[in-house]
Subunit: 320 residues, 2 copies
Amino acid sequence: MKNKIKVAVVTGAAGFVGSNLVDDLLRRGTSVIGIDNLSTGRIKFLHKAMENTNFTFLEKDLFIDDNFEEIFKDSDAIFHLAANADVRFGPEHPMKDFEQNTFVTQKMLEATRVAGVKKFVFSSTGSVYGESEAIPTPENAPFPIQTSLYGASKLACEGLITSYAEAFGIQVWIFRLVSILGPRYTHGHVFDFYKQLTNHPEYLSVLGNGSQRKSYLHVLDCVDAINQALENTKKHVNIFNVGSNDTCEVRDSIRWISDEMQLDPIIKFGIENRGWVGDNPLIHLSTEKVRSLGWKSKYTIEESIKETVKFMKSNAWIFD
Amino acid sequence: MKNKIKVAVVTGAAGFVGSNLVDDLLRRGTSVIGIDNLSTGRIKFLHKAMENTNFTFLEKDLFIDDNFEEIFKDSDAIFHLAANADVRFGPEHPMKDFEQNTFVTQKMLEATRVAGVKKFVFSSTGSVYGESEAIPTPENAPFPIQTSLYGASKLACEGLITSYAEAFGIQVWIFRLVSILGPRYTHGHVFDFYKQLTNHPEYLSVLGNGSQRKSYLHVLDCVDAINQALENTKKHVNIFNVGSNDTCEVRDSIRWISDEMQLDPIIKFGIENRGWVGDNPLIHLSTEKVRSLGWKSKYTIEESIKETVKFMKSNAWIFD
């Protein structure tokens, strides 16, 4: 098998993407050490993994705790997915993105280097492109200007990671993800809309005028893209956009959510073409590079949104 | 006068570029608060400034000390120049670039925000382009891949700065500098070569094969470019390359240094086309953007190198 990973560490293991990745790695026979501080991650997402003897869970805080090199030392790869993933509220706590994303990533890189681990995998974001004029945006788009604290903190991580690759011979993969949907999804606009419509089924209040275009991807497609990229690349520095080929407007997603909930709410839109400072009115990444490895998405955006609503319906506990 | 700055803070004020900038601001009638921890800065570089009643010097460590918002609160602009500027030794202390550059810049941005200062000026580096294929490299070159811890730490700063501009309405200037030469120059390859030739005038040992192409700029041209950009831009986010129109090979610079020292040393070259991990064999920035504001350099690279040697000759104390 290509690029076979025997032992992996996954940070943010109890998170949305993290827990789906853990399940996928275990299914492929990899032993996994999952780390999470359970601040937004849910231990329930790891129930299936916990039954597997190849899985170990450690409740640790990457910002506060230390000696991660000890935990890392027998691993082939570190999947660093833990992050503050909240783009919208960045300006309300300007140190949070920096501490939880940039600072913690530097700490993980140091632990990786000291432990002598040779592969480092990172979940970045399409937000690093700021408001690119190149649409769909390729990996080598013009030098981006950051428009959100979140995007800036992730771009900083990317730079640190590639410089560690160069300086210390670590092989790195950086995945610039669009918004991910599907089972275990617990924050973002589909979550907010669903919650509103559960509380008051007759109306929905929307930030922005609804014409923002977004590209969503199902989490199983996302995990599949990560796996394909790991198996089919040999370069030192590997950077891939991961997203859908198409986009939808926020209006479309509202219709699909309402359909799935069998509701017909009155919708109150904002007037701006963005929902908040740093919101990008159009995110559409070119995914030609990862597709050239043979990957393609199995779910349409509509299916991803409807699957997400189904998950929320049958898992009301996530709103506790 | 355009963009008149009444009160400015300069961090790294006792440094090479910092002290030259302080002198320039004072000459233009700006009151200046200079901060430096004197780790690499030299208090002697501020002797002229110290005689000016519009200048205040504070010996502070940006990484360790706190409450910079108190110091910043009556200023119109923060010029954040303090940094670990040592590209070459990054891999020997992997936390240093992160702490001294990225972490400290985030701290300065927070102090700027809390103090309500409206302008933030930053000295970045041509190293943020990594090894760009676009030569000369324009500001909107393709998305760069970092090849040095130093460049990565500075790219991280840039992202943080532009996201603060977006989130908090701070006007920002980022200057991507080539290597700067001239009076008060105290580290880098001209310094190293001069020091070697002072110790053993008959031979010189060079890292790399001497064919690395670099673009150097005289510090007075650099300070002038910063000033012109500040006076002639109104945008929120302003990013400028600052460098010479031409380049030289390391071999050329050796010849000019030797000429100025009236020496004819035997030169022992390395075999690689780079001097160390992360050294870029070709740095040449496009400076069309800053030139379009009316700026142009007054010194050739040869003049800059020879002026630097003259400065070192008459200031032997810098080697203490």
